[in-house]
């Protein structure tokens, strides 16, 4: 108590300070001020950006409450043992770290019906929120899902909820392509890939039932190597996911693929899922240049053979290895009409394109119409890397990882490299 008291005093002093600052401003207190350089980002005309906070943590996914509180999931608890940071509004549209809880690292975080859901790499927890969006039980969350596989590869458990009381959890395959020897040159695929029993798909659980394990969950969709970005599309009433495509075609089968093909072919794909869907991993990969599902070389493919088997076709495809780590359907009204109900996708950036230049480190916009991708995607926010050279070298300053929509329609982006939190706003008057 004697530790929290001075903190409280400090905090109230800070709040009082910012209030008086606000009082001096002639503009509305909610005024959001873009940084002079738009936080170093390249944006379409009419948009601006600001750094709202530097958390210094590995900021994975994040959410914003209706009152503008940010909850940010850290991949690893910070020095104070906080795996979830709470940031509260400050002046100019910025936020300040005002606490934290949840002594576990992880990726997933989601808001639904008065609860905050968050995941470790094995479990999903939920916290009750009060009317102000404050967590009421920070040290005693309910454990909703438990005992999911974590083998230190594709370990993150991203989460999202639908509008019917269900929770969806990605369980990534702990493998590149289900070889007998993972990532080893020439090693062939395991017949009837056993990994798919407990991973390599999306599992569905009840959102309100404690301690569900594999036995209580349903394998909602399979054949998905690893999904980090996923979102529920309320227009189509459907789950959409971004798969991380396979790596190392050349390393493993140098006689079938050269380094350039290895870097360019296996696209990152957007899938529209329905219950029971099978996207085909590890038996197939999607060749983004031919726009075809191809048989994986571990399972008899040779770079030319099209996939055999009836697998889900992607809804859209993006450059290979660029690592889509967040998907967000934009429902706000701040941005111009064309963005409404479209998808933003945060690409964390590649590593498996070497010796070709690396790519990604940007946020893409994918237009949608009536719940389906419609028209070409475009890079929306670029230059998280700092310079094109840093991007090409795979040595970016920042790596976009999470996306969230603010109550006013701002788009928040988290960076899990330095822990920077960005806010992108539309600054131009709409005509």
């Amino acid at each position: 108590m004697n530790r929290t008291l001075p903190r409280y005093l400090l905090l109230s002093a800070a709040v009082a300070g910012s209030l008086s600052l606000l009082a001096l401003r002639p503009s509305a207190p909610a005024a959001v001020v873009a940084d002079p350089n738009n936080a170093g980002l390249k944006l379409p005309a009419g948009f601006g950006a600001l750094v709202v906070a530097e958390t210094g943590g590995r900021a994975r996914h994040l959410v914003v409450t209706p009152k503008g509180i940010l909850y940010v999931k850290l991949n690893r608890p910070d020095k104070s043992g906080r795996g979830i940071l709470k940031l509260t509004p400050n002046v100019g549209g910025k936020v300040t770290v005002a606490g934290g809880f949840g002594n576990y690292g992880g990726t997933g975080i989601s808001l639904k019906d008065g609860y905050l859901y968050a995941s470790s790499d094995e479990d999903v927890y939920r916290y009750k929120l009060d009317g102000n969006g404050e967590v009421t039980n920070p040290t005693a969350p309910e454990k909703i899902v438990t005992g999911l596989i974590n083998r230190r590869q594709h370990e993150s458990k991203s989460i999202v909820l639908d509008n019917a009381g269900n929770l969806y959890v990605n369980i990534g395959a702990y493998s590149n392509s289900c070889q007998e020897q993972d990532r080893q040159k020439g090693s062939m695929g395991q017949p009837n890939c056993p990994i798919l029993e407990q991973a390599g798909g999306i599992w569905q659980f009840r959102a309100d039932k404690p301690n569900q394990g594999y036995a209580e969950g349903t394998r909602y969709a399979t054949g998905l190597r690893n999904v980090v970005g996923l979102d529920w599309n309320s227009q189509a009433n459907q789950l959409f996911v971004m798969q991380h495509g396979r790596d190392q075609l050349h390393d493993i089968f140098p006689e079938l693929y050269d380094t350039k093909q290895s870097a360019e072919l296996p696209a990152e794909c957007l899938y529209a899922l329905t219950k029971g869907a099978n996207a085909g991993w590890p038996y197939v990969y999607y060749d983004g240049q031919q726009r075809k599902l191809m048989q994986a070389p571990e399972y008899g493919g040779d770079g030319k053979k099209e996939a055999t088997g009836n697998y889900l076709q992607p809804a859209a495809a993006y450059p290979a290895h660029t690592a889509p780590n967040a998907l967000l359907f934009y429902t706000g009204t701040m941005f111009p009409e064309k963005y409404r109900h479209g998808a933003f996708i945060a690409f964390h950036g590649s590593w498996n394109r070497a010796p070709e230049p690396q790519k990604g480190y940007y946020v893409v916009f994918q237009p949608f119409k009536d719940g389906k991708p419609s028209g070409n995607w475009e890079v929306f926010a670029d230059n998280f890397a700092g310079t094109p050279e840093k991007a090409a070298a795979g040595r970016p300053d920042h790596k976009p990882c999470g996306l969230a929509q603010g109550p006013d329609g701002s788009l928040y982006v988290s960076d899990d490299s330095k822990g920077t939190i960005y806010r992108i706003v539309y600054t131009q008057k709409k005509s």
């Binding site: 230190r152 080893q184 040159k185 070497a354």
Partner: protein, 150 residues
């Protein structure tokens, strides 16, 4: 007589060249340690093996990939016990923290590489990316491979 002078000049020249050649590496080495020159040909051969088998994960600059593939600069694995280091290439590595950091990927076994190739690539790694350490010889790899089989 003329011949003698030519010979003398040649000897002097040669001697001078030899001294000059010796001077460089000696000057670089810390006093007390025998100078083990790293032949450029071995480093070049090692770089070729690295480019074909290691670069995709550990990157051209040896800096690795944050949280996924560890760097190869000044780690206790690269600079430490050579048998353990050879073992990483022969057996691969998984679920090991590297100098306190976890990495979320696997290193595949690369035991298809010859003793010479492993010696070359590890010599290259131990003398690149800011590292400066003794060479790994094919004999050392051979011994490690034999011990590894048991």
């Amino acid at each position: 007589m003329k011949r003698f002078f030519v010979l003398l000049a040649a000897v002097t020249l040669l001697h001078g060249a030899a001294v000059a050649q010796q001077k460089k590496p000696v000057a670089k080495k810390p006093a007390g340690k025998p100078a083990t020159a790293m032949p450029a040909a071995r480093l070049a051969a090692g770089k070729t093996v690295y480019t074909q088998n290691c670069l995709t994960c550990h990157m051209a600059d040896g800096g690795g990939v944050e949280g996924m593939n560890p760097p190869l600069s000044k780690t206790t694995w690269v600079l430490g016990d050579k048998t353990r280091l050879v073992g990483v290439v022969l057996n691969g590595l998984q679920d090991q923290d590297i100098d306190g950091e976890p990495y979320r990927n696997v290193m595949p076994a690369q035991n298809q590489l010859t003793d010479q190739q492993i010696a070359d690539v590890l010599t290259y790694v131990r003398n690149s990316f800011g590292n400066k350490a003794s060479a790994v010889t094919p004999a050392e790899v051979k011994a490690a491979r034999a011990a590894n089989k048991k």
